[in-house]
């Protein structure tokens, strides 16, 4: 998985260089660039949500994007888009879980097993993200971009607690240990790379300003493969909207 991510990353960088090279050779520049600023929200969630989660409450966290866009137009309707974005994403969630495999580290003791009770988590991370999208503009006002993104984690925090329940040690027939409130911090298990699908809809207002909505959906888990604290893979799914200013 990680190798694939790196390949994608490098490929995208190369593409960007090619675009620059072409820019220098072209009389009427098909190359456009600008800055993007956006806010939004989303979640890191297992898809589909397992039936071992019976209740879930989710608290949005303000997500922020600051980016630089680079666009190469093949013709009036099609093009390629890349750039570099700093994305801060996050969420808080509380879930009621039923016999869900989990792991908690309490005073350096690892407790793993099947937990029934409540689980609260806070997750936030900052990524340096590189999108590579194909553009389609049905008319001069609208443009739709679809493609992939590859992101590098700059910072990440994932903590929470299991509470008001019990854990069956190791497996569902193991000793039943009641849990009042046991916090955990799994920040170190946030995966350093994240990649996925990114689609963007942009509405132009004049030659410089545009408004956009962007949805990114990760295809690899937010957490490292080695992370056993959750039975399920969690995927970053975030929607942001904002403005572009073309230079």
């Amino acid at each position: 998985m990680m190798r694939k991510t790196i390949v994608l990353f490098v490929a995208t960088l190369l593409t960007a260089n090619v675009l620059r090279a072409q820019d220098a050779d072209t009389a009427v520049s098909p190359l456009q660039h600008g800055f993007a600023l956006g806010i939004g929200t989303g979640a890191s969630a297992p898809i589909p949500i397992p039936n071992r989660i019976s209740e879930m409450s989710w608290t949005p966290r303000l997500c922020v994007l600051v980016g630089y866009d680079l666009r190469y137009q093949f013709g009036p309707k099609t093009g390629l888009k890349t750039g570099l974005q700093v994305k801060y994403v996050g969420m808080s969630a509380e879930a009621k879980v039923y016999q869900m495999f989990t792991q908690a580290i309490v005073d350096e003791s690892e407790v793993s097993g099947y937990f029934t009770g409540y689980n609260e988590t806070v997750l936030h991370a900052t990524y340096l993200s590189l999108p590579l999208q194909f553009s389609f503009s049905p008319n001069s006002n609208w443009r739709f971009d679809a493609g992939l993104f590859a992101a590098l984690k700059i910072q990440g925090h994932f903590s929470g607690a299991v509470k008001n329940g019990y854990i069956r040690i190791t497996d569902p027939t193991g000793e039943k240990v009641e849990v009042g409130y046991e916090p955990f911090d799994f920040s170190e298990f946030i995966a350093p790379f994240n990649y996925g699908i990114e689609i963007t809809a942009t509405r132009s207002f004049g030659s410089r300003w545009a408004a956009w909505f962007d949805l990114s959906w990760a295809l690899n888990s937010t957490f490292k493969e080695a992370f056993r604290g959750l039975e399920y893979k969690m995927y970053n799914i975030y929607g942001l909207f904002g403005v572009d200013y073309r230079l």
């Binding site: 969630a45 350096e108 003791s109 569902p172 000793e175 039943k176």
Partner: protein, 357 residues
């Protein structure tokens, strides 16, 4: 444009919330929660750590035609049917299957007519678990080995069980060997784990009680010899204190030597006593306790005879219970003692005296 934003935003949230209405999954648990011999009527709670159920009858009853009543984990099933007649003169094995049919637990049930003291010579043993979680317990007795199994599950798989079978017996083939083990370094895994054996049950564990084992041990089985009263506790002991005595923080206390504990209590009431009140409760009628006056040899067995000291008269027409408790470190419940201390115990009995009425 606004409408588009709204639609996409709802789509994102909808994804996250989509499957919350799924049906509750099938239960994975396969426990016997309570056990009762119908003909006896004394309901016994079964701790999640128990794979052996020692059911002491509260009055004498033939063992070959008894029926049992159990409560199980939600939607679990049990075979054979406890409600049909079983011959409990031998241990009876029940298997509980979880609702999802992926997990099962096997329980061995010993129904015991209280004799003073059942299997006091530690000749009959039963094993539970597998791999490094396998341990044996003398029939009718309880050890804290199940707590060690939890510690194995917490990443200390090499910790040896403190209570084990030994063939270094005073008489017969076996005796019980209680050993103080070096525990862990974290607050959940006690630094020192003393070997113990007692008459009673273990309670369900909380993360707090794991670090405070005084609350884990529930002492007491029915005392049914109501026409007599306990006169003395007798046992054969061999004791070797460990080399280095440490306090609960692991600091070495120079010059201190570990000692064992061996005592019996007779008390009133239906509730058990635990490690916090087993020698102080107002419900205690009499105690027979080893007080270190007779030195115990480390190379051969020493006979210890301890008189029951009565704090009050034997009450009439109340439920009476008794327990015998032994540990390889007398202050092991406070995490004080010496790793390596070993108590061998054999041929435990209680001598009775006719009550003067």
């Amino acid at each position: 444009m606004n409408r588009l934003l709204l639609v996409v935003a709802i789509a994102v949230l909808g994804l996250a919330m989509a499957s919350c209405s799924k049906e509750k999954p099938a239960n994975m648990e396969a426990d016997i929660l309570t056990f009762m011999i119908a003909e006896d009527g004394h309901l016994m709670e079964v701790a999640s750590s128990d794979n052996v159920i020692n059911y002491y009858l509260s009055q004498y009853h033939g063992l070959d035609n008894l029926t049992a009543v159990v409560t199980l984990s939600e939607n679990a099933t049990i075979t054979p049917d406890p409600a049909s007649v079983h011959d409990f003169s031998q241990p009876v094995t029940f298997t509980v299957l979880s609702q999802d049919r992926q997990w099962n637990r096997t329980y061995t049930v010993n129904v015991i007519n209280t004799a003073l003291v059942h299997n006091g010579d530690f000749e009959n043993w039963q094993g539970t678990g597998s791999g490094n979680n396998f341990y044996e317990t003398p029939v009718g007795w309880t050890s804290a080995n199940s707590g060690v199994r939890i510690i194995h599950g917490m990443g200390v798989p090499s910790l040896e069980f403190p209570t084990v079978k030994t063939d270094m017996a005073y008489s017969g083939n076996y005796a019980v060997s209680l050993n103080t083990r070096q525990g862990g370094q974290t607050s959940l895994v006690p630094r020192l784990i003393a070997g113990s054996i007692f008459l009673g049950t273990m309670s369900n564990v909380t993360l707090q009680t794991l670090a405070n084992p005084l609350l884990l041990t529930k002492f007491g089985i029915p005392y049914t010899e109501t026409s007599s009263r306990p006169d003395s506790l007798i046992g054969y002991l061999r004791y070797t204190p460990g080399p280095t005595y440490t306090d609960r923080d692991g600091n070495v206390i120079p010059g201190a030597t570990d000692s064992c504990s061996f005592y019996a209590i007779l008390f009133e009431g239906t509730e058990p006593l635990d490690g916090t009140n087993s020698s102080s409760s107002e419900r205690i009628i009499a105690i027979a306790k080893y007080n270190y006056e007779t030195p115990i040899s480390s190379t051969s067995y020493t006979r210890i005879a301890l008189p029951f000291v009565y704090h009050k008269e034997m009450p009439q027409n109340v439920t009476l219970q008794y327990s015998i408790i032994a540990s390889s470190s007398a202050k092991g419940d406070l995490f004080q003692g010496a790793a390596g201390s070993q108590l061998l115990l054999d041929k435990v009995e209680i001598k009775l005296k006719q009550s003067e009425k």
